[in-house]
């Protein structure tokens, strides 16, 4: 009996949390589509999410490209031609590695920053102060972050795709002594608009997950400095898991047979 009760309690608590999160997401979205728009904050967030994440995302992508070219060459030992390697690199990067790696890097970087910033605003009563000034914190804090992430992530991923493919290309011609022209030709041939497009859709969804988790855990921060640290941790963990789950969902949607 006691076990059932404990189990029931746990289930109810999880459901309450999910409901709370859904409500938060709804309010955040409502904040995105209703005026006023805080242009300056939006711009700041676009810089933080997009521009300042470029080095990290670029480095990740270029090394992913290097490794992918090497692995596909050694993995497909008999078939290590320009054709197969180019195909593997392009398809893997545009469909999966570009969006997912960029998503995870940005999740680690940005959602933690969002949770910490909003969390410390919560514990220092700045969010209460916003409310007493009749400012809707969902519009002022959540909406710019969500819009910035959803818009900047596809851009970042596009750049990551290009850099990643270039990485593969670089290893191909330097380490694997492929012919420059032929390899380039194959790369272009295997780049499908649909793959790139699907990757960018993924990126936008990942951006949503990143901003929402960051803001949610920031908003629900309690217990001072330790709470802020916890909020950042939870934000990174949950947005990363969110990204991987969304990735599966969207992949089934686009490529599932």
């Amino acid at each position: 009996m006691r076990f059932v009760r404990l189990l029931g309690c746990a289930v109810l608590r999880v459901l309450a949390r999910v409901g709370h999160f859904a409500l938060f997401a709804f309010k955040g979205l409502a904040g995105c589509v209703t005026p006023p728009v805080y242009g300056y904050t939006l711009l700041q967030q676009c810089l933080a999410v997009g521009f300042y994440a470029l080095p990290v995302v670029g480095l990740t992508a270029v090394f992913a490209g290097f490794v992918l070219a090497l692995q596909s060459c050694s993995g497909f030992a008999g078939l290590s031609s320009e054709n197969t390697v180019a195909a593997v690199v392009v398809v893997a990067i545009t469909r999966e590695l570009g969006p997912v790696l960029a998503g995870l890097m940005v999740a680690g970087r940005t959602s933690a920053a969002m949770a910490a910033e909003i969390g410390s605003m919560r514990v220092s009563e700045q969010i209460d102060a916003l409310e007493t000034l009749s400012v809707n914190p969902f519009k002022f804090l959540v909406a710019p972050r969500v819009i910035a992430s959803v818009c900047m992530m596809p851009l970042l991923v596009l750049i990551a795709d290009i850099i990643g493919i270039f990485g593969g290309f670089f290893v191909g011609i330097t380490r694997l002594s492929f012919s420059f022209g032929l390899y380039l030709d194959q790369l272009v041939k295997h780049t499908a608009t649909f793959d790139v497009f699907a990757g960018l859709i993924k990126a936008a969804c990942f951006g949503f997950s990143i901003a929402l988790c960051g803001c949610y855990y920031g908003f629900t921060t309690v217990k001072g400095a330790r709470g802020v640290g916890e909020a950042a941790t939870y934000a990174v963990v949950s947005s990363s898991i969110g990204i991987l789950m969304l990735n599966y969902l969207i992949t089934t949607l686009f490529f599932g047979l």
Binding site: Q126, D128, L130, S134
Partner: protein, 250 residues
């Protein structure tokens, strides 16, 4: 006129560890009066102000300002427009400069930017932060006392009818603390506002109070004027007075 009716607030109702903080607060504050709420740390003074502002829901009871209830969501902006709140830690937005903080408060309520900047400068001068150098600093670059002043300037930016001060002088040296207390008194008088000040500092209380209330155990345990304070026989009040004189409190 502010009316608090049987306000109760219980934290953690949905969990097993419930924490009743306020248990039936009844209080009427006439227009233009200055109330000081005394009470130990953690007794629920800040919670009382936040509940009055509707920052989190009360468990039961109601609060009215000029007949408008906190629970009335459709007139939320009008309700909040009555108040200027000085938070315990200042709560200045640390992504904005001092001037930016006050301009933001004004523009959000529909004041045009140019006029807002003028008013903000004026208010900053009124609290003694008029220098151009100080205006462009960020909150983290100010001392505690300066932050309190800047936060006060933000609270009074829109000439509110009711001022709420949450521990305005805590953590400041006696001289600064006294300066701030007098600054608050002068501000309240110039605005002709109703004020509720929370403090555990009797000196501040004496400077500001028309009436003093003692919050204890989630209820108003005592209230009266400053003269009545001297002759009170309320044991909690007596021990507070003793403690303030440096004697061993009960």
């Amino acid at each position: 006129m502010i009316v608090l009716e049987k306000i109760t607030k219980i934290f953690g109702e949905d969990s097993s560890r419930t924490l009743p903080v306020l248990r039936g607060i009844d209080l009427q504050i006439e227009k233009g009066a200055s109330y000081v709420v005394l009470g130990r740390s953690g007794v629920g003074k800040s919670v009382l102000l936040k509940v009055l502002l509707g920052l989190f829901p009360m468990t039961s009871g109601d609060a009215f300002v000029e007949g408008l209830s906190v629970h009335d969501r459709t007139h939320r902006h009008t309700y909040l427009r009555y108040f200027g709140m000085l938070f315990q830690g200042g709560a200045l937005f640390d992504s904005m400069t001092i001037l930016g903080n006050i301009v933001f408060a004004l523009t959000e309520r529909g004041v045009p930017r140019k006029q807002a900047t003028e008013i903000a400068r004026e208010k900053l001068t009124a609290v003694g932060l008029g220098e151009a150098r100080v205006r462009t600093l960020f909150p983290s670059e100010l001392s505690g006392g300066m932050q309190k002043r800047a936060a006060l300037a933000r609270a009074i930016a829109l000439d509110p009818k009711i001022l709420l001060f949450d521990e305005p002088t805590t953590g400041l040296d006696p001289i600064t603390s006294s300066k701030i207390a007098y600054l608050l008194r002068d501000t309240v008088q110039t605005l002709g506002a109703t004020a509720i000040t929370i403090t555990h500092d009797l000196v501040t209380a004496r400077v500001l109070a028309d009436r003093i209330c003692l919050l204890e155990d989630g209820q108003i345990a005592w209230q009266g004027t400053q003269e009545e304070l001297e002759t009170t026989d309320n044991p909690q009040m007596i021990s507070l007075l003793k403690a303030a004189k440096g004697e061993r409190a009960l």
